[in-house]
Symmetry: C2
């Protein structure tokens, strides 16, 4: 066996073990006996210990040194790129710092959960200060002289830079603020009249998941507190939740997770358990979940089909017809919570976090001033005050877990979804006709062919550029949002003014 | 840290990983997407590879050498005994033989499944010959000059010997054959009138599982093709199956698995993930499942309570009352299949396999003569001919998997259950009053206190001897069976004759 083959066999075994570890998480969130939590922590720690030993195994370095990259094909070189990046990362971060961070974030998570329950940012601030300090130390080690925040981004979105994202987001913000204001000045569309049977919601969710191309023979749909997608290849499981008063929560959570899951199901089979065998970045992953959920799932054409299915399932929805249903699906309302936000406001929540966490890492903002900075920025963009920390600075888990650099990938995913949607419309001119018949095959087939099948073969930005025939830009998303919500809320002229 | 503490930490991590690997099996048999089988094989192989490396890790030998056993308490010495036994086993079997056996049994399993479907023993014989040959080689390596079959028993029932078992089973056989004949000469009790709703069966199974002390907060009940119990400590999951025409299949499979599961749930918490933290042997495990299922679950007293629950669940059962229900639960009927056999006939199926597999391993019986030997013995004990190989020599998976020495633990478990039942009756004089009210707490509490809590602390035979206040003997089981079925079938005199 060549050094490359030996390395790849080792990687595939590591990939299989990582899949097993991931399924422990799925089990824990869906069907684990409630008394098994403590024991499960030991199981997860044991798997993490095995995986850590493999990821830092010095033989990986020896194999990498022994490989003649020139003799490899494109796929082989892409595998090497991933393996080398991951291995060099482990070499740069001292073992003690890594274990200190693991212990600290475990404690910080508990402190955050309590502080959030008590609506008390001061109780969280001291441990967050420690997290920021250690993350800066880790980031400096990773950056090796380069930009610290860029080094953090590398964990979630290889190749992305803060400068590039700041440019994109800087263009998003004023037009989104203007669109939001214009929309909220208009009368609200009517909402659905519930309640909606929760078993019927799950049945409809199954139907819709299959409609979007999710293969049930290689997955499962269960319930959990927070919806998620887990696994790769032939075992990709998704979860959703039900709320008797809001059937859209279950439906659109399902479609969102189906987007993530289809990406994992549709990666080339030959890449199984290798670094190429999964979605390439958080941003590209989110582009799939978002285009499934929003550009396709919340389109006028598809909601027409969905209106019929829901009427069949629940009888009269208390709405005048598919047009009113489309408006109900796309209601824009005030709210504090990122994960509950609509298409217009979602990215404003993310941009706020991106700017604040960059300032924290750069040392331009102290943790003690973070709550005030959050509240000030929220007021500026949304026009009303944050009512309590659990609706503001304490609402998300990310910072307690040390996940700096994660937030911007949400909005990057939306930007990518906007670009892919524009290209998809060109490639499939009669898309709306198909969507209106509940036929998603051309749309999801185009995404599978142009994005999903490649897994980690190309760098994140490259896979979008290839699919769209040009570099990604935020313009497509903005144009789409202004046109869509302008039409729903009847505000074409106001928007043009805002753009001048 | 002392060498002992280091070794125990290593063992606990190995135990946690083994638990994770075991749950992959549970997942596969219950809820895994049907298209995930091939990928799952890779996951299982990766976990096995990690576990194998840990079990053969030379550091275990170094730690064992460095430990001063005299400084340990009873529990510490028991841990050492298990760890040393397991480690020395790995040293005795050459790595090539172990991997040859793994590959061979994997192939033999597939060949067996096809041969069984085709009812063609000749198609299975060649690979079985190879399995017997390699198992004899492995057994000789393990025995190191001692008895080869005894060395095989050690994997399932440490401390047991073929001579001891043959003595026990030799006493069982004539009395069981006589009891069987006497019972089958009598008229059959009436069976239940179905069908029985399968969802209602699962609901009743849940109720009965809790009644027998299974803690649902530390377990789950699901469906699978073959019922099983899986896991230890705070995450012990069981499965059952339903058959619309036979509600006893679901019920008594559940109670059987609850017996196994309660053993695992009730081991002392401090032993978690260590060699003491699980049932000590297959025989003692089976004693728990059998006493729950038979001596308790199929007793006149408990079936009286169950009759009321089933009547509530299903309405009229087509029987005259609890006495007729008790007889229906305990019907003795002709049949070929071990796993479907009643209390009277079950051990005859096992004894047949024990004698044949000992002869195979000793070289007294050739694989080519196995089918004829099986059929001859079946005719001698059951009085009618085997109709086809899938009802005879091909019915069980064990030999294809190389599990020689496993079968006798089923009957040893029944013998142990007989002894424990006799002691339980002495310890809880009003047991029948309690059982007739569906109150199993005293019975299962006595078993938890006297057997289950100890896990691997004592050797298998020792834990039964301690619980019963004397060495185990087959007499208790025989006396119990003759009294019970003598009363149901009204044959006291015939039996006394058979025993002379």
């Amino acid at each position: 066996m060549t050094a490359f083959e030996t390395l790849m066999n080792f990687q595939r075994e590591t990939g299989a073990l990582a899949q097993v570890a991931g399924r422990l998480g799925w089990d824990q969130e869906t069907i684990m006996p409630r008394g098994a939590g403590e024991q499960r922590s030991d199981e997860i720690a044991a798997m993490e210990s095995v995986l850590h030993a493999r990821r830092t195994d010095p033989r990986v370095g020896e194999w990498l040194d022994a490989i003649d990259a020139g003799a490899l094909d494109d796929e082989g070189r892409a595998q090497l790129r991933h393996i080398r990046r991951s291995y060099e990362r482990t070499l740069r971060v001292p073992a003690k710092l890594a274990s200190d961070l693991a212990r600290l974030t475990s404690r910080a998570h508990r402190v955050w959960a309590e502080a959030r329950a008590d609506d008390n940012f001061a109780a969280f601030a001291p441990v967050l200060r420690e997290v920021v300090s250690l993350k800066r130390e880790e980031g400096a080690a990773l950056a090796a002289g380069g930009d610290v925040y860029d080094a953090m981004l590398e964990d979630y979105e290889p190749g992305a830079t803060a400068a590039q994202l700041a440019g994109m987001f800087g263009a998003l913000r004023p037009r989104l603020v203007a669109l939001r204001q214009a929309v909220l000045e208009k009368p609200q569309p009517r909402a659905l009249r519930g309640p909606f049977d929760e078993q019927a919601q799950m049945t409809l969710a199954q139907t819709v998941a299959k409609t979007f191309g999710y293969e049930m023979s290689r997955g499962r749909l269960d319930k959990s507190v927070h919806p998620f997608s887990s696994g790769s290849g032939d075992d990709v499981r998704i979860t959703t939740r039900t709320n008797a008063l809001d059937p859209f929560n279950c439906l659109y959570s399902t479609i969102h997770e189906v987007g993530h899951a289809c990406y994992e199901q549709n990666v080339r089979q030959a890449y199984r358990f290798t670094p190429l065998g999964a979605g390439v970045s958080m941003g590209v992953h989110e582009s799939q979940s978002r285009i499934y959920e929003n550009q396709l799932g919340r389109s006028r054409a598809f909601t027409g089909w969905l209106f019929e299915r829901m009427t069949e399932a629940y009888g009269d929805l208390g709405l005048d017809g598919p047009e009113a249903f489309y408006a109900a699906v796309n209601r824009v309302q005030n709210g504090y919570i990122r994960t509950e936000a609509d298409e217009v406001q979602y990215n404003l929540h993310v941009l706020l976090r991106f700017d604040l966490e960059r300032a924290l890492i750069a040392g331009d903002l102290e943790v003690d001033d973070l709550e005030a900075a959050w509240n000030e920025r929220f007021l500026a963009d949304f026009g009303y005050e944050v009512d309590k920390p659990s609706d503001g600075v304490l609402q998300d888990v990310h910072w307690s877990a040390g996940l700096f650099g994660y937030f911007p990938t949400y909005s990057l995913g939306n930007v990518y979804a906007g670009c892919l949607h524009a290209s998809l419309r060109q490639a499939v001119p009669d898309l709306d006709t198909q969507l209106s018949q509940g036929d998603l095959r051309a749309a999801t087939g185009w995404l599978a062919e142009n994005v999903q099948q490649y897994g980690g073969l190309y760098e994140p930005r490259e896979v979008i550029t290839r699919a769209c025939g040009g570099a990604p830009s935020e313009t497509a998303l903005l144009d789409y949002l202004e046109a869509k919500f302008g039409a729903i809320y009847g505000l074409d002229r106001g928007l043009c003014a805002a753009r001048e």
